[in-house]
Amino acid sequence: MSEPRLVEVRRNILKQNDLIARALREHFRAAGAFVVSLVSSPGSGKTTFLEKTLSRLQPQYRVAALVGDLATDNDAARLARSKAPVKQITTGTLCHLEAAMIQKALEDWDLHQLDFLFIENVGNLVCPSSYDLGENLRLVLMSVTEGEDKPQKYPTIFNSADVAVITKNDLSAAVEFDWEAARKSIESVRPGMQIFRLSAKTGEGLQPYLDFLAQRLMEQRALAHT
């Protein structure tokens, strides 16, 4: 064999995912559906939060959810109680969702019939950050029981998100949650990110967050018609 030489190449490893994500985003825009993805640690209350979101939006909006789970369909079964269409994506041993999985799961759904689609990612604050799913809004959820410095421990996912929700606020006194420290922690990894503080269980603080979603849906539709 000859002497080794260096050749320049340019290959983005996640290009395939990014291309599918781009096509999905265009598809969502054309259908007038606003798509929100949820990322969080395991146990932060993602499913309860989503269940409440679906049932509170439902009288007024057409909502649906895709749920990523490693092995069980427990989450999908819980969410189905909201009566919204729910589809499970079982990822097996895969620790995150990829754009192609979303595309496949949506094959037989007519997005024109929807206002909001929620995508619940696998409970994991590391791997999902690398994969664009074509969502219009990435929401990172943390609970007061996880500690104020969670954003600093997982800066990449917090930086990749558009909005943060701090839930289980009904427990904040019991765990002496320092709201100002949490706000600073988020601000230091994602300056300017909007933060909602609420309790999915009691419903406290949910309304401003629901109003925010409604506002974003309106904005997306206004853009779609220009």
């Binding site: 000859s2 030489r5 190449v9 996640l14 895969l94 999902p128 690398s130 800066p155 230091s188 990894v189």
Partner: protein, 114 residues
């Protein structure tokens, strides 16, 4: 951990380039951004497994780490962050969230032999 599947993606990309050029790859140079969501050590650890039984078996993965660069709204300049835990301008201390660089996950060169 998703580094093994990322490593396999890199192997595939490198093999594809090698086939087109009809060469053997002895090393892959990768640009890895601090905000890529991929951990360098886990990726290096996965490399040998990802290369097993492929034409890249025995090859090296060389990682060029790319720090995060942001646009500081105060200085109106591009600034390189010292840490992904603090999106503050290292010069003036203002919060700076406009990311200009740091999400790279890209093969940029191959060491090849005819």
């Amino acid at each position: 951990m998703h580094e093994l599947s990322i490593a396999m993606g890199i192997v595939e990309a490198a093999m594809d380039e090698a086939r087109q050029r009809n060469v053997h790859v002895s090393a892959v140079h990768l640009r890895l951004g601090a905000l890529s969501g991929v951990v360098k050590d886990a990726l290096l650890f996965s490399w040998e497994v990802a290369c097993q039984d492929t034409s890249l078996q025995g090859s090296q993965l060389l990682i060029d780490e790319v720090p995060v660069a942001v646009f500081c709204p105060q200085c109106k300049e591009r600034r390189v962050l010292e840490s992904v835990q603090s999106f503050t301008c290292p010069e003036c201390g203002s919060l700076a969230g406009d990311v200009l660089q740091g999400k790279e996950l890209e093969v940029f060169a191959l060491e090849v032999q005819e």
